[in-house]
Amino acid sequence: MHTITRLISIADAAVARLTRLGVILALVVLFVLLMARVIARTTEIPFAAYDEIVELATVWMTLLGTVALWREGALFKVEIVTGAFPAFGRLAEIVVQALMLAFALMLVIVGGRFTLDSNELTSFMQIDMRLYYGAIPVTGVFMACYSLAGLVRAGCTLARSGTAGSAERPLTKPAVGTHL
């Protein structure tokens, strides 16, 4: 049991590091390519081909970042009701985790089928579109794992009916680092 727990925490740390690195790398790639695009326009060098890399970086940045937020439980949500009624919140947490698991599994199954069925290549650089669409099922697997863990955790919390969890949250906790 101890070994399994240890392996899980090593895998979790690896996912945290990988997603962080992936997001930073994708953002840097986007920054460089979009700056180059502006410069290329002034020098009239054709640059359309690199838009395909921009799209690739955007997809992976968004989905790897989503895995990171999913892992931290930091996806934007409204906690006004669950915060005001902690007992209901503990029950709702199970439903929410189950819904998130269903969503993640849909990304894995439907997204996986969509990716495998795709036989397109990008027009300029001839990149296999499976590298693009594949981000959906691949990241979906991680999301599903974290939701499964969340579901188990929420179930245990409810079973214990302890004081931990949403009872300790402030009345309405906004998500970290929102953008407006």
Binding site: V23, I24, L30, T58, G65, A68, V96, F114, Y133, A175
Partner: protein
């Protein structure tokens, strides 16, 4: 499936604490399955992918990055000092400085939260040291931060432009006058209440030489809007490219000119910016199949018929929309409101002949007011956290600024010219 079933299910999912993107995605997938079985779910993935890769939305990470670089790179302090030179001497001067600082910051960043979390810390600290009540200082900081996303550049305008298929450049221009009006209305309130609240004056009056030095020191930061808005107006860059240039410029100024941003700070700034951006981009990805489902179910048509059944007067309809958005803004975060409501409200306003650019500014101002209304006011919480001021102290002081902002909202609703004049000058 009826409007009622879809919307009530969505709201229920959101209220039990389902992340907004997941709620949108599940509603879209569920409706697709209900309408045509599991085969239609392929379209979900297609739309989800398209929603994620919209080029115009790529402006969001870079405007967020620019804001974070400005806060880390020393621009924020200099903006505050410059505002102090201009309006610091009158009674309640630091309150005016707070508002002017936010207008200047707004010209560089498109985020109210970036204003609260960066400039807000400097402002509240300075006001506290000068003898202002912490609740008052935090309230004016939260209220003035709402100017950020109305004055260009603006992240909500980028999102609205993408949802409504409207020129982001036109929206940026349309926000200039209402943004200035927001600032003026708050400064009028400050001037009217300064004596009764016993607000202090600044003891130190900077000399002409000191003032000039301060402004010159801040000049590299102050000319940033020239690159962003100027480049857009001249047609040299798209909004996304303008955002990238803004981020590059902020990094350059922070590292080379002010030397307050270290290379070693960059990974953390990039990670924070990427993380904040993904929160929006994931919602936008899930909103794309949801919008498709709404159109397939002819829900916008039903909303148009229902609203036109109440009145066909554009002003009445706009007032009704304002009321709905203000109420939603009290409980739900702004971008979620935008992605849920715009596919339904845009056909209504188009039908009554309201310009989508005018409507965009109305929507964004409504959402900004939502940022400072309890119980779910993101700027209230941000200021409360970063300035360590009790939330209820802020709420007690903020109501008068809410009235000022509501007045501006009514003005721009009744007088479209206040919004459309600047875009018209530039041929939009």
């Amino acid at each position: 499936m009826s409007v009622f079933v879809i919307m009530s299910s969505l709201v229920s999912l959101i209220l039990i604490g389902t992340p907004i993107a997941i709620a949108l995605g599940l509603m879209a997938a569920g409706t697709m399955w209900w309408a045509a079985g599991p085969d239609l779910l392929g379209i979900f993935i297609q739309r989800f992918y398209t929603g994620m890769t919209s080029f115009s939305l790529l402006a969001i990470p870079f405007f967020i990055l620019a804001g974070n670089l400005m806060n880390t790179g020393g621009m924020t302090n200099r903006i505050f000092s410059t505002a102090e030179v201009f309006v610091g001497r009158v009674r309640g001067g630091l309150s005016h400085v707070n508002v002017v600082g936010s207008i200047l910051f707004a010209g560089m960043s498109g985020s109210a939260v970036a204003d609260c979390a960066g400039l807000g810390v400097v402002e509240v600290r300075a006001m506290r040291n000068a003898g202002y009540r912490p609740g008052y200082a935090a309230a004016i900081t939260a209220a003035s931060s709402t100017i950020g996303p109305v004055v260009p550049p603006s992240i909500p305008f980028v999102i609205y432009g993408s949802l409504a298929n409207v020129s982001v450049g036109a929206l940026f221009l349309a926000g200039i006058l209402p943004g200035i009006l927001m600032g003026v209305s708050m400064m009028v309130v400050i001037a009217l209440t300064a004596r009764s609240k016993g607000l202090p004056r600044l003891e130190h009056r900077p000399s002409l030489a000191e003032g000039t030095r301060t402004i010159l020191n801040a000049l590299p930061a102050l000319i940033m809007p020239v690159f962003v808005v100027g480049g857009l107006l001249l047609g040299w860059v798209t909004p996304t490219e303008a955002a990238v240039i803004a981020a590059a410029y902020a990094a350059f100024i922070g590292i080379v000119v002010y030397r307050e941003l270290k290379i070693s700070d960059l990974p953390e700034v990039l990670w924070a910016s990427g993380r904040q951006s993904v929160q929006v981009l994931f919602i936008m990805a899930a909103a794309a199949p949801f919008s498709w489902v709404l159109v397939q179910q002819q829900i916008p048509n039903a909303i148009v018929e229902a609203m036109l059944g109440v009145s066909e007067n554009p002003v009445v309809i706009l007032l009704m929309i304002n009321l709905v958005l203000l109420l939603l803004g009290m409980f739900i975060e702004g971008i979620a409101i935008m992605v849920i409501c715009m596919p339904m409200l845009l056909p209504v306003v188009t039908q009554i002949g309201v310009d989508p650019v005018h409507f965009g500014v109305i929507v964004v101002l409504n959402l900004m007011i939502g940022l400072i209304t309890p119980p779910v006011g993101l700027c209230l919480y941000t200021v409360s956290q970063v300035a360590e001021v009790d939330l209820f102290e802020i709420i007690k002081e903020i109501w008068i600024y809410l009235i000022a902002l509501l007045t501006v909202l009514l003005l721009i609703t009744f007088f479209p010219g206040l919004v459309m004049w600047v875009p018209a000058l530039f041929g939009f």
